[in-house]
């Protein structure tokens, strides 16, 4: 546990060099988007809980897939693996410390947007909604790590992950309801885990459901267990460079 927090602190220090980029991409731009949402809905807060929930979920997906997954790919490079193997750092601890760091990074905008969403919602689940958001973060974190462990090629990953996060956000009810799309595209949205994360969060913020919430919980739980098992096996694998 000591090493876990030391490594998260290490990551924090190591990222100082990118402070301006992180400030703009991680704080200023998301908050600007949130302010735009608030301004667009001025006078009527009816759609704010829906849009703010979409904002939270898309921020989580974007941060984890664009930054966390790439960090995981980085530590899976053969040279880096050799160094860390010799330093005695466990891959599991390193990945966990990255997840902690980037979760902290998401906290400010998530807290502000959640408070506003709960404020504007008619009859929100005051506990269930934050739990749904934490669940969404957990799922996206495990998805990002599993994909990072799988892709491995850093140059491929730099192209794949931004596209993937963009596609996941576009093809989810983050900023528009599912019903506004043709039925064929709605079916495609069912395959998107972010759709189900949003479906659950929307349910507890009092927005109409497109998919039965129990079905979303079931689908996410099954895929979470599958991914977690894959992730664990990859992180604990001894002969990690065997197939490179």
């Amino acid at each position: 546990m000591r090493n876990l927090f030391l490594m998260a602190g290490f990551e924090f220090r190591a990222m100082r060099i990118y402070w301006f980029q992180l400030l703009i991409a991680g704080i200023v731009m998301p908050l600007a988007l949130m302010v735009t949402i608030l301004l667009a809905q001025s006078g009527s807060g009816e759609r704010l809980p829906f849009l703010l929930t979409g904002f939270i979920a898309s921020s989580i997906a974007s941060t984890f897939l664009n930054i966390l997954a790439l960090r995981v790919v980085n530590i899976m490079q053969p040279d880096v693996l050799e160094l860390y193997a010799a330093l005695g750092f466990s891959r599991r601890d390193m990945v966990a410390s990255f997840a902690i760091f980037y979760s902290m990074f998401l906290l400010p905008q998530t807290i502000v947007a959640s408070v506003l969403a709960l404020h504007w919602a008619g009859n929100p689940g005051m506990v269930a909604f934050p739990v749904a958001i934490v669940g969404c973060a957990l799922f996206m974190g495990v998805l990002a790590i599993t994909l990072g462990l799988r892709v491995r090629n850093y140059f491929h990953a730099m192209g794949i992950f931004p596209c993937l996060s963009w596609a996941m956000i576009m093809l989810s009810p983050a900023y528009y309801p599912m019903s506004s799309l043709p039925v064929a595209l709605q079916a495609l949205m069912w395959l998107n885990p972010l759709t189900h994360c949003l479906n659950i969060a929307h349910h507890y913020i009092g927005c109409p459901d497109n998919i039965p919430v129990s079905l979303s919980v079931l689908l996410l739980s099954v895929s979470f267990c599958f991914m977690a098992a894959r992730m664990r096996a990859s992180l604990l694998k001894t002969y990690i460079l065997e197939n490179i």
């Binding site: 030391l6 290490f10 190591a14 100082r16 160094l83 193997a85 330093l87 005695g88 001894t238 460079l241």
Partner: protein
């Protein structure tokens, strides 16, 4: 300390990277591994760290088989990777300090050890520089400082002084030579480095150990013909002596070049010609460690 026995690695694509390699490293020894690119050095190191599975053979660390006990490797071995990796956003001092903290050090000992190792590796002047500002050589020195400060029983160094400037290079060699209590395995292309710091050398070619021993033994084991160039004081007398000898020779306007089957033939001829004709200039090229290695690795004609 380290006992590698009959280690063979065949990759899933059928490529045999290591072929029945046996290497023994006793406590306090400094062992060099030399080989051309693709000789199997990296695969050997990766098997040592449990990143690649040996097809057959064993690796024992302090008598413990690393196969079923991979946890012993990071506790016993410190490593200097070939690539000059760095943390771009951290200063040299922060990097070394953080690595030692993760290794369990803290308090006044941590501060003392950080300053001591920075001084030992001549990194004091760049301790406040960030990783992205460092040259390749300084990055390697930082990695070496981390490994050195880790107090591991065995240090594995992959091309430790590549990219390092000559002053620091000598500093590192002095450190390695003077650290009698450290066991060190160096993989290097720099034969000068291996010759200067290693007690014994293993030459790897095509995944096999083709020769091992001290650098002097390896050089002696090769019957490399000696070549002598000289300028005699009395040219005609020297040419007469050459005609009497069985050596092959040729002559330009001033310099006479003579080839001998072995070094001692060249030395005795040099003594004779000095006595009879006098010598103004003399150069004998004898079998060198470098030439011997090139002969073993089959790269002589490309050198």
């Amino acid at each position: 300390m380290l006992e590698i026995s009959h280690l063979t690695k065949i990759y899933p694509n059928g490529f045999k990277a290591n072929d029945d390699i046996s290497i023994s490293v006793s406590r306090g020894e400094r062992i060099g591994i030399i080989g051309p690119n693709g000789a199997g050095k990296t695969t050997l190191i990766r098997q040592l760290f449990g990143l690649v599975k040996p097809t057959s053979g064993t690796i024992l660390l302090d008598g413990v088989d690393t196969g079923p006990n991979p946890g012993i490797v990071p506790l016993t071995i410190g490593y200097v990777p070939q690539m000059p990796l760095s943390f771009p956003g951290l200063t040299v001092r922060e990097t070394v300090s953080h690595m030692l903290r993760l290794g369990g050090r803290g308090g006044t000992r941590l501060a003392r050890d950080v300053e001591s190792v920075l001084d030992s590796f001549s990194l004091g002047s760049c301790a406040g520089m960030s990783g992205y500002q460092l040259s390749g050589g300084l990055r390697k020195m930082t990695l070496m400082a981390i490994a050195w400060a880790s107090d591991k029983k065995l240090l594995v160094m992959d091309e430790p002084t590549s990219m390092v400037d000559i002053g620091r290079k000598y500093r590192v060699w002095d450190l390695i030579r003077s650290a009698a209590d450290r066991t060190i395995l160096i993989s290097s292309h720099d034969m000068n480095e291996i010759q200067k710091v290693c007690d014994r050398v293993y030459v790897l070619v095509g995944g096999r150990v083709v020769v091992s021993g001290t650098a002097a033994d390896i050089a002696r084991s090769m019957k490399v013909p000696a070549e002598m160039e000289f300028v005699p004081l009395r040219r005609d007398t020297a040419l007469d002596a050459l005609k009497r000898s069985r050596a092959s020779w040729n002559s330009t306007e001033n310099i006479i070049t003579v080839s001998f089957p072995e070094l001692h033939d060249a030395i005795s001829f040099a003594a004779d010609v000095e006595k009879e004709a006098g010598v103004e200039y003399l150069k004998i090229e004898a079998p060198s460690f470098e030439k011997a290695i090139l002969a073993f690795t089959g790269e002589e004609h490309h050198a």
